[in-house]
């Protein structure tokens, strides 16, 4: 019998949202919080043994990383006498401040801190989450990837990460050349893999959005299944704060760690040219404006630090909650944090 949609069903869906009586309780089991503490200690030990200095930089700052698709929380600070009011930003990553430390002479530093990203909530996202971020002066692109592989091996015990170029991953799992295929071909590949996309994407001439669609839809689920995978050499359009290596095609010296199809970390052979950073900030703000978003401050103390000289270095940001998810076999982020956003 074809059952018409029942009001009970409707009510049950609505009830899930309304049931707040249990919201004082933690969403993570206490045993999981013990594992969390142990993993946190293991990460600290990993860096301490290698002579890294643990640092603490501000969670709230006049500067913020200028990203196209990351929305920072902000807060207004009342004007002091004779001064304009200031807008301050909750950090989406401690990147700017840590690079200022490198420019000031720090050798190898790491930080475990809370970062904040507006509107990011899902099985793998919470707007407030814990980031492990590290930088080492003198590290090449390759050395940066090796250090990340060591950390993955030591904390997860699932073997040394394999490395796979972004282009190779796409050819293997999406059947397209991500650097050269025209958008129409990327769209056909998505269709072929049964991936649905927003109607609004059809109108934009946004190549990186199509690549992201394929990445999350059919490439990523295959990454890091047997052992961790490090994907490297991203398209130049997705360089963020990484150096771009000239060539045909040019490659952003950016790499990411995936385990069980989950994105765990993002690293750069760091951009050091302040003028290039100024150009990228302008470009990103142009794109943000076109998308109806607020613009983010293009000037920053990081630029000043880069003017004075940022040394060659490679840095990585890793989502600690996701590392724990993978280590403990959790399927949602609320299983590994005591109080997710709705219960915070």
């Amino acid at each position: 019998m074809k059952k018409a949609l029942s009001a009970q069903f409707l009510a049950s869906v609505l009830q899930e949202q309304l049931d707040t009586s249990d919201q004082w309780r933690p969403s993570a089991a206490l045993e999981m919080l013990r594992r969390r503490a142990e993993l946190l200690a293991a990460v600290r030990q990993f860096f301490d043994r290698r002579g890294f200095l643990e640092v603490d930089t501000p969670a709230i700052s006049a500067d913020t990383v200028v990203d196209r698709h990351i929305e920072p929380f902000s807060t207004g600070v009342p004007a002091e006498v004779g001064k304009p009011p200031r807008r301050l930003w909750l950090q989406t990553s401690p990147e700017f401040a840590m690079k200022r430390l490198l420019a000031a002479g720090a050798e190898a530093i790491y930080q475990i801190c809370r970062v904040f990203r507006l509107g990011e909530r899902g099985p793998l996202h919470n707007p407030e989450f814990t980031m492990v971020e590290w930088y080492r002066r003198g590290d090449s692109y390759q050395q940066g990837m090796s250090l990340l592989a060591e950390l993955a091996e030591e904390t997860l015990g699932r073997g040394r990460a394999e490395r796979i170029a972004y282009a190779e991953a796409f050819e293997r799992y999406a059947g397209v050349d991500p650097h050269r295929a025209p958008i129409a071909e990327l769209r056909e590949a998505a269709r072929g893999h049964g991936i649905t996309w927003p109607e609004s994407m059809e109108a934009d001439d946004d190549r990186d959005a199509w690549l992201d669609l394929l990445l999350t839809g059919c490439v990523q689920p295959n990454l890091g299944v047997d052992r961790p995978a490090i994907v490297y050499d991203y398209p130049a359009g997705q360089c963020a704060l990484a150096q771009v290596r000239e060539g045909d095609p040019p490659a952003a010296e950016r790499f990411e760690l995936f385990v069980d199809g989950i994105e765990l970390a993002n690293g750069y052979h760091e951009l050091r040219d302040p003028n290039e950073l100024r150009r990228r900030n302008q470009r990103i703000n142009r794109l943000r404006r076109a998308e109806g978003k607020n613009t983010l401050p293009e000037r920053s103390r990081l630029l000043r630090a880069m003017d004075s000289g940022l040394p060659e270095c490679t840095g990585v940001a890793m989502g600690f909650d996701r590392l724990l998810m993978v280590a403990a076999g959790a399927t949602t982020i609320e299983q590994v944090i005591p109080f997710p956003f709705e219960r915070a």
Partner: protein, 189 residues
């Protein structure tokens, strides 16, 4: 026209797509660290009962649907029209046989059902979970056979037919689970 922005997307949202009402039954947030946020949604068509897969990106929006659930008493059937009256406002609502679907088999005069209204027009009804109906016709039962695993078709007062154990007889009152269409028990007057 009211709309919901992606930041408001959540399970249970009632929306309107191409003129049809939908209930968001799933909404998965997918986002590469540096990439665009996508919302992979499953939307249930409240009229056709089909499920639609749609993906949205941040900044997209969907039209909100005006959907309300009311309690209404079944009054009578006139050919293909089923007439109900809201127990609160006493307003009358007419549903077509299509909208009532298989539920016509349960509808007895005076029965209170819930009705979903879309833009103040009825779209579906849900009868109570259990209804008691009088048997109008069936083949005679085998005396003494109380087995419940052997069944026979039984026609009830609404004209609907149900599979019942063979001991059920004409004039009996039987209780039916409307969610499964299955016989539960015989009821004493």
């Amino acid at each position: 026209m009211a709309t919901y922005n992606t930041s408001e997307f959540r399970k249970g949202l009632k929306v309107q797509i191409d003129g049809d009402p939908y209930l968001m039954i799933q909404c998965d947030f997918v986002k590469p660290g540096k990439g665009q946020a996508l919302y992979k949604c499953k939307l249930k068509n409240l009229i056709r009962n089909t499920v639609l897969d749609r993906t949205y990106k941040s900044g997209d929006s969907i039209e909100a649907a005006d959907i309300e659930e009311i309690e209404a008493q079944f009054l009578y059937r006139q050919q293909d029209q089923f007439v109900f009256m809201c127990t609160e406002s006493y307003e009358q609502y007419e549903l077509t046989a299509d909208q009532v679907d298989e539920n016509w088999k349960y509808l007895k005069e005076g029965m209170v059902c819930s009705i979903l209204l879309f833009n103040n027009r009825p779209i579906t009804i849900t009868p109570p979970n259990h209804v008691v109906l009088r048997v109008e016709y069936c083949e005679p039962g085998v005396r003494g056979n109380t087995a419940t695993n052997v069944t026979k078709p039984v026609r009830v007062e609404t004209g609907g037919e149900f599979q019942c154990p063979v001991f059920v007889e004409i004039g009996d009152l039987i209780r039916i689970d409307t969610r499964t269409g299955e016989y539960i028990e015989r009821v004493k007057e």
